[in-house]
Amino acid sequence: MRKLNVLLSLFVLASLVLTACGGGAPAEPQTVVQTVIVEGTPQVVTAVPPTEEKEAVLRVNTGTYPDVIDPQKSSFVNEIAHLNKVYMGLTTLNGKLETVPGAAESWTFNDDATQLTFTLKPDSVYSDGSVLNAKRFEYAFQRNIDPATAGEYASITDEIVGAPEWRGADTAAEGYDAEAFKAALGVKASHADGSACADYEDTACNTLTLNFSKPAPYFATIAGIWVGYPAKEENIAEGGDIWWTSSKYQIGNGPFIWKSVDPFVKSVFVPNPNYAGEAIPTYRLEFSYITDSAVAFEAYRNNEFDVIGSAAEDLPVIDADADLAAQHVKYAGSCTIKIQYSFFPTWGGKPNPFSDKKVREAFALAFDAEAWTHDVDGDLSLPTWTWIPPGYPGYDTNTPLHFDPEAAKAALAAASEPFNSAEKLNALGLKMAFADSARNRQRHEWIAAQYKEILGVDLALDPVEPTTYTAIQKDPDTYPLLSRGGWCADYADPQNWLSVYWRTGTFADRWGYSNPEFDALVDEADTTIDPAKRAELYSQAQQVLLNDIPGAFGYNSLNHYLVKPWVKGYQTTPQDGTYPGDVTPWTITIDTSMLP
């Protein structure tokens, strides 16, 4: 009996060892050597079996697994990267970030841009072959606005008539009537002749009309973002609050079908044969969720990933290896980061030096953006002296300021009393807050050292727990005197960079920036239909902003990835969220002949 136990144990151990050793490198085709007899004479024949055709797969590490993958509730880049594979909005973006037809074949504004009418492509269907009509998009916009959904981007469609009223309604109040709000909403699906649609099976229901409370010539672009993706109402109802956790309910009209999801491990997408966009992808897409950059880098080198984001700590290895260096793809990203000044007259009960434009100018001129990107960010960011980043409509290289230490000193000396010298500023005790992390400590120590060296100013650093940092930035009463922050594009329109961020009554209220001239220009631009005139007005508004020196514009984010040589045809855009070609995945091809 005892011997039997020992034998069994050995067997189990051996099985485990064998199982552990069973995986590993993919098997290579073997050369078979056979001795055959041909007409009585023995001959040695060498036969190489035909190689199996390899499947085209794009394996991407997206990092963090999404919290929520619901078109009307998601807001983070990694969430949207999943959604835009499965769904397509009425419009979409091309490789130049131009708004082009998506599910809609065309759209028209009325004369004053208060009404936008989309016509859907004929015979539109979902990936499962079911009818996709305008009523689906009507539901998407209604669901986004419905306060019961409470999506984090719900306010992005506030131009629609009745949207702010419904969103702000107290659903617990006596007499709250969701149907009445829905009926008053400026979103209507109809037939081409204006008659009402019957249901989701009505194939003639191809027109969606959006009515706005003010002219919104930029809304065709907004209509293409994820909040307008047509998730199926019946799937949401059947799956309940957690419908989005199951790939079987994520039936969409995007370039891919979400075949399977193993949370935190892998998502598999396959081409959608019914995709009505530019082209149907020719490869299977796999997302993995490794958040440790060192492990992801090792997996990439082991040929287990085709695309990963490169990390600053891997740069020495990448730069030292000619192959890796050739695979390192870098291009402008979607964010502008700046050192933001508080504009309030006082700070901590003391006069605020940054209420003086000359002090703002001194601090902007003393920030060496090029040195920052090289020394601090390891060339994984791009220096900038303007607001809208390259690659976006409205990018303007004409900026009043550049790094100039002598001009910075002169500007400080020209400031008003009592801010016109380093000693006087030091007496006030300047402080810069930041979200605490090892990386951010290094960054802000560099900033403080530079201001000390150039202006002689002592900047006290105030590390704050990251979520607390966000919270204090939301409240004008606690907004730091100096902080590092910025904006990343929701969509490619100057309105998103200027009106949404700097106009009085928006984010700018948090740090107290307000300029009526700027407000007037963006208000006019927001309601101007002529694209050229609109662009000119935004350009003027940006110049007003830059002349106010609202912050020390520092750098633009950089998209930086390692891409295997067999991944071809990707179009890079600043809006790429998780990999090059994220916005236009149908252009990517996998050269299977190059696969190892």
Partner: protein
């Protein structure tokens, strides 16, 4: 003994309530909330924030929120009564919208079993890591003690000290480099956790520290026990060395080891942020750490309570094991 166990189980109730209260106060004292996300992107607007706060009851006074979490309350939006912790409801996640904490931790993905839930994964990995720590750590400790001040002892001590001092992320990347990148025995990117070969590295990294600590503790306990009179007596009686070591020495030396293994089990099965980050392991450790940064209050409360419950149960189990190891120990009735 049964009365003792029942009494100890009842004591869990005030323990859990106290843990809940302390956690609630501490997490709500930290500035920020679940809707405070990355400042470099569009923020939740005031109307939506109000709506969300009302839905989740965050607009109510603190005492009422705590009461709602423990006992239950009527949702002001849906008008439905939602029973709290007393009904096993750990609350809704504020970030993973629509999901409850118990759903996130205990429900498996579609077409999977409980063992493929986040808790199930952590439980299995923690159990394997503990088993490894016991099966390897205790023998190493015994051998080191029996061969004190020999090369065997020094090697065992070196091994144990390494286990305690080497950070798990260093060990993880080292193992990945050796076994995946160089030897190609396993893949780095695991897409199928049903294959046992993928479990060895996370198990080794997770359990190595406990293994090392167990080995050191076993060694020192054995060294103390082997100088006791009853051991000398056993040898003088002419007992075989094996019987002296395993029946007389080890049984007594194991008491301090068992004491640390209880809380260690709780720590191992509740997951590890590092392990899950590096191996893309779908356990519950990441949920805990992320929830703190995201101010996902219910998730913080839920994971803390599960950890507290596991520690309490593990300690109770240790007390029971004592009785079997040392006949002098009696659990009061």
């Amino acid at each position: 003994m049964v009365t003792y166990l029942i009494r100890r189980l009842f004591w869990l109730i005030p323990v859990l309530i106290t843990v809940s209260a302390v956690t609630f106060i501490v997490m709500r004292s930290a500035p920020g909330g679940p809707w405070d996300t990355d400042p470099e992107r569009r923020q939740v607007d005031a109307a939506t924030e109000k709506s969300l706060s009302a839905y989740y009851g965050l607009d109510k006074p603190m005492w009422r929120q705590f009461y709602a979490y423990i006992i239950g309350d009527t949702n002001s939006q849906t008008k439905e009564y939602v029973c709290g912790l007393i009904c096993g409801n750990l609350g809704p996640s504020y970030r993973q919208r629509g999901r409850t904490v118990q759903d996130i931790l205990f429900s498996p993905p579609e077409d999977k079993t409980f063992w493929q839930s986040r808790f199930g994964y952590s439980l299995r990995l923690g159990g394997m890591a503990l088993l490894m720590a016991i099966m390897v750590g205790i023998p190493i400790g015994i051998i080191a003690a029996l061969k004190q001040n020999t090369i065997v002892d020094y090697v065992a001590l070196f091994f144990a000290t390494s286990g305690i001092s080497v950070p798990s992320f260093v060990l993880a990347i080292f193992l990945i480099f050796i076994f995946a990148s160089r030897l190609h025995l396993v893949d780095i990117v695991v897409d199928d956790w049903t294959q046992i070969k993928y479990w060895f590295m996370p198990m080794a990294v997770l359990g190595f520290g406990t293994l090392a600590y167990t080995a050191r503790l076993t060694r020192s306990a054995m060294l103390e026990v082997m100088r006791q009179d009853y051991v000398r007596t056993a040898r003088a009686k002419g007992l075989a060395e094996r019987a002296v070591v395993f029946i007389h020495m080890l049984k007594n030396a194991l008491i301090p080891v068992i004491t640390i293994l209880g809380p260690a089990l709780a720590g191992l099965v509740t997951g590890s942020f590092i392990i899950e980050t590096m191996f893309s392991f779908p356990g519950m450790g990441r949920a805990y750490v992320q929830s703190i940064f995201q101010r996902d209050y219910s998730m913080i409360m839920g994971t803390t309570l599960i950890y507290a419950l596991l520690v309490a149960v593990a300690n109770l189990s240790v007390d029971i094991i004592y009785v079997f190891l040392d006949p002098r120990i009696r659990l009061e009735d």
